[in-house]
Symmetry: C2
Subunit: 545 residues, 2 copies
């Protein structure tokens, strides 16, 4: 067999590296790890979510041997239907992850599109030059795995999202033994989660939430609403247990939450007695102090159930004094304002709102600094590539790797699209492949390209000016007066500026010979800039009469 370099390429993550999609390739074989979505920044108005541009996968369609999914959170599976629409390759995922993928594909009528292989932690899957061993990791969803990827160039460990929880909700800790075994075999490179690289210490166990919930449930005199991600399956189990302990009944609200709950329950990842759950209608007819409602919206999304409850626009349910709302999540960076706005509005409607800063109702699913060092010590890799994080987090992860003895030159901080090659035990940075982001405006418009995003921002930042003017088709002279309208522009004295604009239009037309349209745009643009220091988008409609 001819010697090839092993190539590793992070393909998606917007400001983060490899968060949502990575590629490993050797010779003619290519495997994809994860197909997730990204959440839009604050400034990205009208965008629902973002997916990695899969141009590189498109270009290498015939070489893709398999897609491995590490766990079922949106930032790891959320682009699967976009990928499946273009790429033919078998998907390997654990039972719960496969279930969540199927829910997602079913909802889009793509149930038969994908060939999904349900595999388990401990399994070894051989595809082309790759032999992929799945090992169990703790995360805020059950059935998460990392990958031990053996290639002719060496063994690479890909952590996925993980933490070292000694008392996880499903009693299944991260597989220390497998990591130690990898280390005995000799690990060429570790690619590991950097999300919490700036957090000192050790991330608390999921188990602390139980006590947090019990405290809150004990004090609550009226209804309890718990908001979290629809894919936080462990949290659903914890809420169900706390509901049972407090002798209340539980209603799930929201399609994605109900679908995920049903699937996870049918697969045995959530267990609770049949009698615990009631429908929303039943819940609304019960005494307030007997009810727990679980819904989405913990990120302050205005269209989510909690978002609509906070705005008073959710039909069939209204927040009232005596309600306790539990925000069981951490704001995704950039969402702070929206989340705190939702909390404030819920308070305004009379609810008591309990969130992370006030009570232990959420813990992170990602390793903190001491855990990251533990992983490095367990795996003892020759090379380290920090992934899953912004540059500042990767840098911190590199600093931690340095602390446990990895040489600076053996740590690669890379960007999306950058190729890392391993050959003869040596790491090199080897060029780039096309990467990018596709903005999804799920309201129906289709993909929003960066050009449209720039247009939207420009419209919002600088405003627009529209001019309608009729000119004599022979003399080119203006007929009557120009109509000038603006949107999103602020003037010290609007009337004077509009009169000035009409004057500029008249003057320009009287001098114009040739491209009146362009002359008008220029003259009006510089007049408006001198008056407002803004550069609005200018539309000129000239009618020759």
């Amino acid at each position: 067999m001819k010697n090839h370099p092993l190539r590793i390429i992070p393909l998606g993550g917007l400001g983060e590296v490899g968060r949502n999609m990575m590629v490993y390739e050797y010779g003619n074989d290519l495997i994809v790890v994860d197909t997730g979505l990204m959440f839009p920044d604050n400034g990205m108005l009208g965008i629902d979510y973002i997916i990695p541009d899969i141009e590189y996968l498109r270009q290498n369609k015939d070489r893709i041997r398999a897609i491995f999914i590490t766990h079922g959170h949106e930032d790891h599976i959320g682009a699967i239907h976009h990928v499946m629409a273009e790429i033919q390759a078998p998907i390997y995922a654990t039972k719960l992850t496969a279930g969540l993928i199927e829910v997602k594909l079913n909802r889009r009528g793509m149930a038969n599109r994908a060939e999904i292989h349900v595999v388990s932690a401990g399994d070894k899957i051989v595809v082309g030059a790759f032999s992929v061993e799945l090992f169990h990791v703790c995360h805020s969803i059950p059935d998460a795995v990392g990958l031990g990827i053996t290639t002719p160039a060496g063994l690479v460990v890909h952590s996925g999202d993980y933490k070292f929880d000694h008392t996880p909700v499903d009693d299944w800790p991260t597989d220390y033994a497998k990591l130690a075994e990898f280390s005995q075999r000799g690990v060429l490179a570790l690619l590991a989660d950097s999300t919490n690289a700036v957090n000192p210490g050790w991330t608390p166990s999921e188990r602390v939430i139980e006590e947090g919930f019990d405290q809150v449930f004990r004090k609550a005199k009226g209804r309890i609403l718990v908001a979290t991600f629809a894919s936080l399956i462990s949290r659903m189990q914890q809420v169900a247990e706390a509901t049972e302990r407090s002798h209340r009944k539980l209603a799930f609200v929201g399609t994605s939450m109900v679908d995920n709950m049903k699937m996870a329950r049918s697969l045995g990842y959530i267990t609770f007695p049949e009698t615990l759950v009631v429908s929303m209608d039943e819940a609304l007819n019960m005494k307030d102090r007997d009810v727990v409602i679980m819904c989405t919206g913990s990120q302050g999304e205005p269209s989510s159930i909690l978002g609509r409850l906070s705005n008073g626009t959710y039909r069939g349910l209204e927040i009232k004094s005596g309600d306790t709302v539990v925000m069981s999540s951490h704001p995704i960076p950039g969402n702070e304002e929206a989340v705190y706005g939702t909390i404030n509005r819920l308070f305004e409607r009379g609810a008591d709102v309990v969130y992370e800063a006030i009570a232990p109702v959420h813990v992170s699913g990602h390793a903190s600094q001491e855990e990251m060092k533990l992983l490095l010590q367990l795996v003892r890799p020759k090379y380290v590539i920090p992934i899953h994080g912004e540059l500042r987090m990767l840098k911190r992860h590199a600093f931690l790797a340095g602390q446990v003895g990895v040489a600076d030159e053996n740590i690669a901080i890379i960007q999306n699209g950058q190729i890392v090659e391993f050959e003869n035990g040596k790491m090199t940075i080897a060029g780039r492949v096309p990467v990018g982001s596709v903005f999804i405006d799920s309201s129906g418009g289709g993909d929003v390209d960066p050009e449209v995003m720039r247009e939207r921002e420009l419209l919002a930042r600088e405003g627009i000016i529209m001019v309608q003017v009729a000119v004599d088709r022979y003399s080119g002279g203006i007929i009557g007066q120009a109509e000038v309208t603006s949107r999103g522009l602020a003037f010290k004295d609007a009337d004077a500026v509009m009169a000035g604009a009409r004057r500029v239009i008249g003057d320009t037309l009287s001098r114009a010979n040739g491209n009146a349209q362009k002359d008008l745009e220029q003259a009006l643009g510089s007049y408006i800039y001198s008056e407002t220091r803004r550069k609005p988008t200018i539309f000129i409609s000239i009618t020759r009469v």
Copy 2:
């Protein structure tokens, strides 16, 4: 003297209560406390800052006896020139605060507009029915005061921004004795800062920053850049001292930072040897390891010096490998994304970036929970009105007040514009006055009203469509084809949608009888909605030929 109620009204703060402006009135006398600005949210594109709508002050011009400013931060003085342009009243402020106000007024050629009385902690100022005693408080700027406001209705304590720092940079702790004395006299109501009401424990002393700076300065091999607010005067002193200890020289960059530094130094609030400071030009000609540069931009503002350095667009100075950048501040809520983006870009340019999460280079200037309880215990007020915070913080402050024994019915959680009245020792909520926000687009356009803000957001979220069409003036039939252009709209198949739009326009015009403009807008709007689920702003220009 006739008995009047004492009325307290928070006038500004956007999502926060009374942060930037409050009014106290008794009978025919009215005093204003603070005249600050607010920072725009992420979604407010093109807005530089926001000030309280001072309609209520305008309506009561003749009753305003004085303006008291508690300290010199932007959120307490930043609207002073807007207020001074309309209101005639003497300003009372301590020396440093007065200096900062003068810097601000001078820059706008309003030096002679204001009558500023320089007062000191310990002073008592009698204006109309009010006797106002200033007491010293620690904050992240020297010379900050709270107010003990004696009125015929009782004594009200207004904390301003404060913390209980036992080892402040200027060695001047908060005036415990005065607070205890107020309590002996009997305090009707306490209005106190709620900023950190969700933070448990005690805010660390400003002094811990010294060690943080020393650590960072010791490790830095190249230039050091420290970014903070231009009004964080204590921080300038600390950076100067750390510079001296590390045998470097210090250059200040940026007009507002240099102006504030000079003023604070001339007044004795910053002290360092003349030889410590160099100009920017000198700094650039020195060895990298001899230089410290202090600048603004710690909030990720793209137009700030640090923002431009991170983008590579600052003239005369470029970030390079070996530079250490210290972000000595905490992101204002909503700025997290911008701040972390700046940090990532600085890393990309090769700098090492040190920020709050990594080293103790910033501490809060506001009291945490234990300090808030200490203030309540020292002052022992009958009534408590939490101010300076979002609703969720006020609620937490109220909870803390409950913990130290204040009865629920003696705590008022109010909104901006709400009047609290005190008469015969009883507190009542008594109606509202007009409040609001004025958006300042300082690039020259003048005040941006909420209508323009809505227009901007609509443009960005939904896009626009422009139609130009010529019709026969007699038959009303279309001549040629409509021209349809869009901005900020995404289509699955743009050509098909545009063709469809032209068809809809043609059909509508052929049926139109009466208001063709309106018919077209409606028909086109519903066609575009059916194709894109968006409701763009539609402009139609009909020319009758």
